[in-house]
Amino acid sequence: MLLEQIINGITLGSIYAIIALGFTLVFGVLGIINMAHGEIFMVGAFVGVTTTGVLGWPLWLAFIAAIVVTSILGYLLERFTLRPLRGKKGVSHLAPLISTIGVSILLENLSHHIFGAGNKPFNTSFSEISINIGSITVYLVQIVIFVISILLMIGLTVWLSKTKAGKALRATADNLETASILGVDTKKIIILTVVVASAIGGIAGILVGMAFNSVSPQMGLSMGLKGLAIIILGGMGNVKGAMVGGLILGLSETMLVAYGDSGYRDAIAFIMIIVILLLRPQGIFGSKVSQERR
């Protein structure tokens, strides 16, 4: 059973990690917690349900559709809720928090109206494929999820630390004004970031739909909260932290259910962040930026 539970934990953890990556990217660059990220993820899942279920498209096309739709959503989010707040004098740092909450409420209720309340099945033959190793069954979806999460993490790490665009992104994150006088088209960089983060959310949405066969307008919330807990756990704006934090959370939730009291499953994420923050206020991988000099 332990092995099976570990596989369960890694699957869940990888999904958490992918969602957290989207949060971390936006936070890293804009210093904003995108409260609508969970709902963008949810939309991705619904695009999957609609394209594979209603329209009967093949899975790969569904992925592309989800990426396209969530990218567009990301663009709209940036254009209409984040950009108007940027560079204005006297903007409360809470304003983006609230307006992204507004977007999340909007998206949740819109999809409720469009798709109806409750769970929708995500039926693909792909999620039926499994491999038996000894006495345990591993589904191909589980492997795919794990591989995608690793690839995304490596890809993002390399992109951010090695490429010019990645550095420009970090410069923008550090100081928008400075980045712009150094020649960075910060507007473009920000759009790029939000769009990439949203697309990652869309991918996560399809993966969750495939893995758990449940898609509902409310799914964004609980996943979103977990994602938030993870980026705090791993350290804000830190790609490696998101990955490790996601896996830790996925595994500990699963182990809690397996060997402890499943009633506390939803609390474990937060108990962990409370404990970790008390030991390391900047998260596991977060770096302590010296504020004294600013």
């Binding site: 539970q5 369960n8 758990f212 409310q218 799914m219 609980s222 397996a258 499943s262 009633g263």
Partner: protein
């Protein structure tokens, strides 16, 4: 057809121009938010009943529908809004027991009759003299289902899973646990999940390892169907017994074949060949474009119960209405003969159903 036609008191002030006795009922329903599907079915059932009743021409009913969003405080606001209208005779709803617990004492205190059509948790009619329900409580339905399931499968070991952060599923679980213990079943493990969860693999893996014969799942159909789906994928093929919230055609829609083997007790059997039900199904589907569920059916009956009480009371006066309501006996509704017991709770037989080949059938 009972109580006799005594609505001839011409002088009654509630009588409209055409001499028909009329009354206004308030409805509090869960119309926005995660569980809006329940409220929608209920209001649909009520609207259909309203049409049918008014068409009969004996009484004329007006409905004032307010949304509660499934939240206790908003339900209370809705109730106050309804109650501030003095011409309201009685109230139907709210949808959830948690809302009902907040609303009913207040309504009771104001001397306004209130009827729960979907509130299945224990202790509802006991709130006060003006509080009634026609929903079949979990404490009645669940034992019936478990008994039948055990009887047929010969199960001795059961595993349990329930949503512990929801009043209904928690209440249902308590009934299940009690029943299982009374029946001397061995409980192999008790697992919980939380609202909105999508991954049940950890719990199911654990359940699978304890080798039960039966799974008692106190879950709303949303989560319940997904649990069954994941269980079947994992190779758990044993039957599930569910409670009130699990009993929905939606379960089949979500889980597909995986829903086969779900056993529930219900006052309403949609596939029944009973002509009343067939007719109701047809009318409902024509009007709202989808199949009714038990909540729609119970709501439909509820308004007939009100209409009947109104007729017998002969006036829309709250006091008179309450009295005749409490006396409701053997009223023939689509769900069968209906009576209230002395506290105002439902007296009714339930049918145990099973999903087989993607359909609810009677479980014998």
């Amino acid at each position: 057809a009972c109580g006799g036609g005594n609505t001839t008191t011409e002088s009654n002030s509630n009588t409209g121009e055409d001499g028909v006795l009329s009354a206004k009922f308030g409805v509090i329903s869960y119309l926005t938010g995660a569980g809006a599907a329940y409220g929608e079915a209920i209001t649909n059932g009520l609207k259909l009943a309203q049409q049918d009743i008014n068409a009969l021409g004996e009484v004329n009913i007006e409905l004032v529908i307010e949304d509660s969003a499934g939240k206790a405080d908003q339900a209370l606001n809705a109730a106050q809004k309804i109650m501030s209208d003095d011409s309201i005779t009685a109230i139907i709803g709210p949808t959830l027991s948690t809302e009902f617990f907040a609303v009913a004492p207040e309504v009771d205190l104001n001397g306004i009759p209130i009827l729960g059509t979907s509130t299945t948790v224990d202790g509802i009619p006991e709130i006060g003299d003006y509080v009634f329900r026609n929903a079949v409580p979990e404490s009645l339905a669940i034992p019936a289902a478990i008994e039948k399931a055990v009887e047929r499968t010969g199960a001795t070991k059961v595993a349990m899973i329930y949503g512990n952060d929801d009043a209904l599923t928690k209440g249902g679980f308590e009934v299940m646990e009690r029943t299982a213990k009374e029946m001397g079943l061995e409980i192999t493990t008790i697992e919980t999940y939380q609202e909105g969860q999508s991954d049940y693999n950890a719990q199911l893996t654990k359940i699978k390892n304890t080798n039960p014969d039966l799974i008692l799942a106190s879950a709303l159909y949303n989560e319940g169907a997904v649990i069954m789906d994941q269980a079947r994928k994992m190779g758990i093929e044993i039957p599930f017994v569910g409670g009130n919230g699990f009993n929905s055609p939606q379960a089949i829609e979500i889980a597909g074949d995986a829903a086969n083997g779900l056993i529930v007790a219900t006052p309403y059997f949609g596939e029944s060949s009973d002509p009343k039900i067939v007719e109701f199904n047809e009318k409902y589907e024509k009007e709202f474009g989808k199949k009714p569920d038990q909540f729609a059916a119970q709501a439909y009956d509820a308004l007939f119960i009100y209409a009947d009480a109104l007729k017998r009371a002969g006036s829309s006066d709250r006091e008179a209405f309450r009295e005749s309501l409490a006396e409701t006996k053997d009223l023939e509704g689509i769900l069968g003969k209906f009576s209230f017991d002395e506290v105002g709770d439902v007296i009714m037989d339930v049918t145990v159903l099973e999903i087989k080949d993607g359909k609810f059938i009677e479980f014998e």
